[in-house]
Symmetry: C2
Subunit: 223 residues, 2 copies
């Protein structure tokens, strides 16, 4: 529910800096937008519903945002930084790249499980705001590819792999696995699972490990 905004918030509409009261209203609107977009999707959501949820009047919205699409974009950016944070935090304790992969997916799945509807917002950006979706994926892949390339130099993963292609493939795999086993899965009470089925994570890890591990004949760079 928390919204991260590192830059000092300004009213997007005018560029004017905000007082404490203004900042708080803006934050309330952004959090309301998050909730409403997540629950209803972009097109069913409306500014009226967002302002009602935030407990402010309709017109107030336009003091802080340029319009519906503008809040949506800001939201996607915010979610992107939160997912990446969840992933990199999870990976931070890894001993090697293959463990990092498992932990990274765990972090991703944890985020998705904790905010099932939120990740739908990101995917809906493909249709609402393609540039934002592109940014989202590219930011994730950039870090990914860098990690893979470094591991490759250290001989932790096979040299023949194309890190760029692999990074996109893994991201796509994670996304569909998350969709299938988190967003679509219902337990006995029809509730979505609080976290990913460990067997699935194991299956995923086995798959990734097999794909990435160096061939046994391959020489290791021992620095």
């Amino acid at each position: 529910m928390t919204v991260h905004t590192d830059d000092p918030p300004v009213s997007s509409a005018t560029g004017r800096p905000l007082t404490t009261r203004g900042r708080q209203t803006r934050r309330r609107l952004l959090e309301a937008a998050e909730q409403v977009f997540a629950d209803l999707g972009y097109h069913e959501a409306s500014i009226v519903k967002i302002t009602e949820h935030a407990g402010v009047a309709l017109g107030t919205f336009y003091l802080y945002f340029d319009g519906k699409q503008a809040v949506f974009d800001e939201l996607v950016l915010d979610l992107n930084s939160r997912v990446r944070h969840s992933m990199s935090e999870a990976m931070s304790t890894a001993a090697d790249r293959i463990e990092a992969e498992r932990l990274g997916f765990e972090g991703f799945f944890r985020f998705t499980a904790a905010h099932p509807a939120l990740y739908r917002v990101v995917r809906e950006a493909e249709f609402v705001s393609p540039a934002m979706l592109k940014l989202h994926y590219e930011r994730i892949v950039d870090g990914y590819r860098a990690g893979l390339a470094a591991a490759q130099r250290d001989g932790e993963i096979a040299a023949e792999l194309d890190t760029d292609v692999v990074a996109w493939a893994l991201m796509g795999a994670g996304e569909l696995i998350g969709m299938r086993y988190l967003l679509w899965e219902k337990d006995a009470d029809g509730r979505p699972p609080a976290q990913i089925d460990p067997a699935v994570l194991d299956g995923m890890t086995a798959f990734i490990t097999r794909a990435l591990r160096p061939d046994t004949t391959e020489g290791k760079t021992d620095d």
Copy 2:
């Protein structure tokens, strides 16, 4: 552009069977819908635009379809059968499962490259018609899993793999690779590529091969 409809077309609105003229009008509407949804997305598309594109009056639409969502659903189903056809046709000449994987992806990418906008329609179903998207993915995965399981029994792919998880992972990987290297890629003239970069397909194949191939120590069932 061709629309496949195996069942004799009937007016969805009334269930009444159609004469030749009626069938033709219905087909024109469905093809126009395909075009308009692909170009504009679901929400920007409108019945007026679809009927204009088809060269019929607004009201005619409702003689053949129950509404906007109904054509969309029918379209997703149609596209699903076309993608699967493209994939299974490509796979039909494969000597073993790993070659089948490569050819299957080639078929998928060929379809996506030939109809760049169409695959967006399928993905938009996540928000417009979730049940249709689920059906789409599950139909693809079902065939996939069956093929993997059979190959596993024959010792063509590693026994330890969870075919269910692998099927979803591969489908996700293919989808994001297609998005990145077909839908987003522009050549010098800003045109999307007519087919996938062979280097990418090779990278993808290497990745899949490594993940699926049996361990060298693994015993083969020799029937």
